[in-house]
């Protein structure tokens, strides 16, 4: 599956992504190539792609949010490196030869910077998610305090370019009540302020959706960007090692789906 590297946005920050044209190890990729640097975004009806340059072997390139003025406001910009030219427009998310590595995956540096000096990043990658899936995520990252603001950045990428409206449920850690519910749009970077949702600092945030999959990133700023902190959650499948971990993951999701259904029935 072809890899994309999102370019982030967040309040009081600028997003950046550094793409790297060298494999992450010396044994999974035998031959590398010069590549096109692409920016792909959806307008709700089709995928649009613009080549912004080429990248020689062993080189890196920093893409910054402010250089992407051709991408409409609020659209999710996805960068990629491709051996072949991607089509200017397409009905499904464009694809190319996938130079797959496993240990680790071929990653980019994805981060945020502020004019007040804060900077943060992680090594990441993203793929298109299925439209019939859901997520369950347990997040301890909520930092509360004077001059601190916390946000959830929820990245959705699907093969179809359409913008589907759906919901994200914030549950308590027992799965006994919905703390809050926020709208989500597919193929968007959805930004949700966490401070006003109703969680106490020691409470675990439980996120769940019914029909959308995405990557939840948690970002905290101090004094509007003087300091920045960013991390993603592991999917709950990573609580298990070996065996039929996907079967176990399915059972876990069924447990929490039943909990959500029960809360909804009780609230009706």
């Amino acid at each position: 599956m072809f890899i994309f590297y999102p370019i982030l946005r967040a309040p009081n920050c600028h997003g950046f992504t550094v793409v790297h044209n060298y494999p992450p190890n010396n044994w999974e990729i035998r031959k590398n190539f010069d590549k096109y640097i692409n920016i792909t975004w959806s307008d709700g009806f089709k995928w649009n792609t613009k080549i912004i340059g080429t990248l020689g072997k062993n080189k890196s390139y920093k893409i910054v949010e402010k250089d992407l003025n051709f991408v409409p406001n609020h659209s999710l910009a996805l960068s990629s490196l491709s051996i072949n030219k991607l089509p200017n427009t397409s009905d499904i998310l464009p694809d190319d030869i996938h130079m797959k590595t496993n240990l680790p995956e071929w990653r980019a540096t994805i981060g945020l910077e502020s004019e007040l000096g804060g900077a943060t990043s992680f090594q990441g990658e993203a793929h298109a998610f299925p439209t019939n899936g859901s997520i369950l995520s347990f997040a301890p990252f909520f930092q509360k305090g004077k001059d601190l603001s916390s946000y959830l950045l929820f990245i959705s990428i699907e093969k179809s370019p359409s913008f589907r409206n759906t919901s994200l449920f914030f549950l308590d850690a027992y799965g006994e009540k919905i703390i809050n519910k926020k709208p989500l749009v597919s193929n968007h970077l959805n930004i949700i302020k966490l401070d006003e949702l109703g969680y106490k600092p020691s409470e675990l945030i439980v996120l769940t959706t019914e029909n959308i999959v995405g990557i939840p990133l948690f970002m905290t700023t101090y004094k509007n960007g003087k300091e920045l902190s960013l991390e993603h959650t592991h999917p709950p499948a990573s609580f298990a090692l070996h065996g039929n971990r996907w079967g176990l993951h399915k059972e876990l999701k069924e447990i929490w789906t039943k909990k959500l259904i029960h809360i909804k029935k009780t609230n009706d």
């Binding site: 992450p24 010396n26 080189k59 000096g117 930092q143 675990l204 991390e231 709950p236 070996h242």
Partner: protein, 268 residues
């Protein structure tokens, strides 16, 4: 046909009997990453602790459960262990450095073993693993900076911990896909999650010419870790390649801005 066979043999040299982590001895044995602690001077380390097992039941059991934390010094020697009680589904952000007040080492590793292993894990032949979130505070910064665990490094049986990491047949390069720049400084930590002492080499490479700038070698005991904190005086951009017989020598990267205007940490 012969070409396919040759490719399989070539790949087999890197993959045959070389999993990222071996299976623990018993299905009830919990697994943990070997996380990194830093303390003394300007450092504080935290870990977000919650009862993973409690997520796997429809009706929450509200009894307290125990979690065992074992601390090791950089040489891999066990220096302390403690038991922490957790309320079901509570998130407890514990200050790791507070357990190490009498230890003079500046950094080391720790493992987190959950006592609550639900029956669902046994049913699916899976092992419960803690790959959670360590956070660091540095100098007078206000935010905790998070980094997720990544390895299934160590397990425990009858109070006896044992490592799960496997050594590679051949030396492997881990090419950090991150641009190192002269206006920033970096520290890199590698953990040895195998039963053998590992020789690890940090090679810094000029990003334009691909030529080696400098190399530094370390020897790491099982359970231990090494910290590369040397200053690289180099005027151009450069990269890091880590060579070792670890299956994946993924470093934790500590990144400092010019004049320490920012601090960040991430998994390489």
């Amino acid at each position: 046909m012969i070409k396919v066979l040759i490719n399989k043999i070539k790949r087999g040299l890197w993959t045959y009997k070389q999993p990222l982590s071996a299976k623990p001895n018993n299905l009830n044995d919990p697994v943990s990453d070997l996380f990194v602690w830093r303390h003394l001077g300007d450092w504080k380390t935290y870990f977000d602790l919650y009862d993973i097992g409690s997520f796997y039941s429809q009706i929450p059991n509200k009894d307290e459960v125990d979690v065992k934390i074992i601390f090791y010094n950089p040489s891999g020697k066990k220096i302390k262990e403690c038991i922490i009680s957790l309320k079901n589904n509570q998130n407890k952000c514990i200050e790791i450095s507070s357990f190490l007040k009498n230890d003079k080492h500046l950094f080391g590793t720790f493992a987190v073993f959950h006592s609550n292993v639900p029956g669902n894990f046994i049913k699916y032949n899976s092992y419960l693993t803690e790959r959670g979130y360590t956070s660091y505070k540095y100098l007078n910064k206000q935010l905790r900076h998070y980094v997720h665990g990544n390895s299934d490094a160590v397990s425990i049986s009858n109070n006896f911990s044992y490592l799960l990491g496997v050594s590679s047949l051949l030396r492997r390069d881990y090419r950090l896909q991150f641009n190192l720049i002269k206006s920033e400084t970096y520290e890199f930590i590698i953990v040895n999650y195998t039963n053998k002492t590992q020789k690890v080499s940090f090679a810094f490479i000029d990003a334009s010419s691909n030529k080696k700038i400098s190399v530094k070698n370390y020897s790491i005991n099982p359970n231990g870790c090494c910290l590369f904190d040397g200053k690289i005086s180099y005027d151009a951009n450069f990269r890091l390649v880590i060579s070792s017989k670890l299956i994946m020598a993924r470093p934790i990267v500590f990144r400092y801005g010019h004049d320490l205007n920012f601090f960040d940490v991430f998994h390489g």
